[in-house]
């Protein structure tokens, strides 16, 4: 276990290093990406640009710039180019909406994914299963921002049922938080509900064909017990681990889009806006944060997998 952790964490560190270098480099090759020009302001004299460059260390060799930036990120003192505010504090402020979004949507898609998956498998081949299949595929096929825009238009604008975006802190107004998050949650989780229900349905059907399920039936167990203790118990294992991985992935993917659509002022939106401003430090920090989440959750999922499935031993 300790060795496993050590190896995995070492690998994780390598991955994070590569991710940070890559991000850093991407912004170096951008034409017009020289932050000194933008920071020096309008009609700046070459002298001014030069000064800015010196002050921020943009005249240093790349690896040195990279090193200092990473150092600042690690000790929490990194400042954005465009607004010159502390990036990590800014991210800490933007974390609640992002976490509300990801965790809430994650729970929703897990819950409904499992529900529909079980329903579909139990009624495999029947009309209700086909309907669920069609719905699931529709969910998978709908772009998040299209769904978000439609919801905003109909639920928010036309029918006035829900607020038109924005974020209300849970601590300030729980009900407001809920109503503001409802549409983002739905927009973010629909596709995953589709995927999870399909994966689980297939998993259950596979498991139903397993010999040990036949054994369980031959033991005279009730169908319910067979389903819950033998079928679900086994087919949920991959789902649970999938969930962990997706939760991390969604922060760097769908959540950014949803935050932008619903104006949640979350970490993803901050990153997307920073990219538009060619502001490297926030992008770097958010990217690392997301990559960190992906890597760490990857390790956690492996551990969880080993806990849930006694056949798996942690190695490699």
């Amino acid at each position: 276990m300790a060795r496993f952790l050590a190896r995995r964490l070492l690998g994780a560190a390598a991955v994070l290093f590569a991710v940070s270098v890559l991000t850093f480099l991407i912004f170096q090759v951008i034409p017009g990406g020289d932050p000194a020009l933008r920071m020096a302001g309008r009609e700046a004299t070459p002298q001014t640009v030069h000064d800015v460059r010196r002050a921020w260390g943009f005249d240093r060799p790349l690896y040195e710039q990279y090193a200092t930036t990473m150092e600042k990120i690690l000790d929490g003192s990194v400042v954005s180019y465009s607004q010159q505010i502390n990036v990590e504090q800014e991210i800490a402020r933007d974390l609640p909406p992002t976490l509300s979004l990801a965790l809430g949507a994650g729970l929703i898609w897990l819950l409904f994914g499992v529900l529909f998956g079980v329903l579909g498998a139990v009624r495999a081949g029947r009309a209700s299963d086909r309907a669920l299949t069609v719905l699931a595929l529709l969910g998978v096929s709908t772009p998040i921002f299209f769904l978000g825009a439609l919801m905003l238009y109909y639920l928010g604008y036309r029918w006035g049922l829900l607020p038109l975006g924005g974020y209300v802190p849970l601590t300030r107004d729980p009900w407001g938080w809920f109503t503001h998050m409802l549409m983002p949650w739905l927009a973010l989780s629909i596709a995953s509900i589709g995927i999870y229900s399909r994966v689980l349905r297939a998993g259950i059907l596979d498991t139903l064909g397993e010999d040990y399920v036949r054994t369980a039936r031959a033991k005279g167990l009730s169908e319910r017990r067979v389903l819950v203790h033998h079928v679900l118990r086994n087919s949920l294992i991959p789902i649970v681990s999938l969930w962990g991985l997706d939760l991390a992935a969604v922060i760097g993917g769908g959540a950014i889009v949803v935050e932008s659509v619903f104006d949640l002022h979350g970490v993803g939106q901050y990153a997307a806006e920073s990219i538009a401003r060619l502001d490297v430090p926030p992008v770097l920090v958010v990217t690392l944060l997301v990559a960190c989440a992906v890597v760490v959750l990857g390790v956690l999922v492996d551990i969880l997998y080993a806990l849930l499935d006694p056949r798996i031993r942690l190695s490699a």
Partner: protein, 345 residues
């Protein structure tokens, strides 16, 4: 963008219960069997036909533009008027609101703020979306097959390096990666010495989208190759004196095809969606080439007054991606020897 998990590359179609009474049947290759199964899946066929219809329609865009709508995709009609029934309407109102669907030849699905015919642009945009989707899928598949087979086959250091590479792409937030690359490459294009992509090229978003999805396919492929290389038929090929290259191409690759085929539509669907998302965030296709993603993104800006600008590309996108997904589903079922018609249990 959340993806369906990489389907664990499980048994290839031919492995499974030996078909009963096999000897009595006329020999049917695995692919013919798949085709037969696919032919029996009505939804997959219908959706396949639908996707095909859309593709054909998009290919015929110039014909529609010339013969039906009478305007090109880039022609502005901002200050023009159009007769709808007995009334004469502005194509774009003085306050900038474009006309909605007229359900007639001109401006069938309405106009956009530049007074361009949405139906015409939809067809032209489809070409770009589909082309990017197809190219991206190609990129994904080529890279994934290359990385997956090399890593799985050579193991050791090669595997270590390639797997870390996949980890890096995997850990990189896909939308951020896409947007960052999109922004980075939008002006200067990409110049890797061998590969040169100019900034306006459709290949650019295709390459970005393609790279993002590589781990989703490469990982299961690698796993499959790891398993395949232990199979006895690989030893059999060695015993007959075959080298690595011939074993990879002659023995391993054919066994990966079903996995690849299963992933193709899935990746196509996801590529189209990711391209749309990137366009929404401003890192997609460069104008003046529309894609459904860029059209949708522009439309969203203009809701609520011009909802047709959202619905037209949005529904088209959903329709095609849905069709591709259903087709892929049918294909997967057809390739899965264990799936019995009507489901089990």
């Amino acid at each position: 963008m959340s993806l369906p998990p990489p389907t664990p590359a499980r048994s290839e179609p031919t492995v499974g219960t030996e078909p009963p009474l096999a000897a009595a049947r006329a020999p049917a290759g695995p692919w013919r069997l798949v085709a037969a199964r696919l032919r029996r899946s009505r939804p997959a066929l219908v959706c396949g036909a639908l996707v095909l219809a859309v593709v054909v329609a998009c290919l015929l865009a110039p014909v529609y533009a010339r013969e039906v709508a009478g305007t090109g995709p880039d022609e502005n009609h901002i200050t023009d008027t159009v007769r709808v029934g007995s009334r004469t309407l502005d194509v774009v109102s003085p306050t900038g609101v474009p006309i909605g669907p007229t359900w007639q030849r001109r401006f069938l699905l309405g106009a956009d703020p530049n007074g361009r015919d949405v139906a015409v642009r939809l067809l032209y945009g489809g070409r770009n979306s589909l082309e990017i989707g197809a190219l991206a899928t190609l990129v994904t598949m080529l890279l994934a097959v290359l990385i997956g087979t090399l890593a799985g086959w050579f193991r050791g250091l090669t595997d270590g390096v390639l797997s870390r590479l996949l980890d890096v792409i995997w850990a990189f937030p896909p939308v951020l990666l896409g947007v960052a690359l999109g922004v980075a490459l939008a002006i200067g294009g990409l110049d890797l010495g061998v590969v040169k992509l100019s900034s306006g090229s459709l290949l650019l978003p295709a390459a970005i989208v393609g790279v993002v999805f590589v781990p989703y396919v490469a990982r299961p492929l690698r796993g499959q190759v790891l398993a395949l290389r232990e199979r006895e038929f690989v030893d059999a090929a060695r015993v007959q004196g075959r080298g690595n290259v011939r074993i990879l191409t002659g023995e391993i690759l054919p066994n990966l095809t079903s996995t690849i085929v299963v992933f193709l539509p899935l990746m196509l669907a996801n590529a189209i969606l990711l391209e749309a998302a990137l366009s929404y965030l401003g890192a997609g296709v460069q104008d003046p080439n529309p894609s459904w993603g860029t059209m949708l993104a522009e439309g969203i800006r203009l809701t609520p007054g011009a909802i047709h600008l959202v619905l037209a590309p949005g529904l088209m996108l959903v329709l095609v991606v849905f069709g591709v997904n259903v087709l892929g589903d049918g294909l997967r079922d057809a390739l899965d020897p264990r799936a019995v018609a009507g489901g089990r249990g």
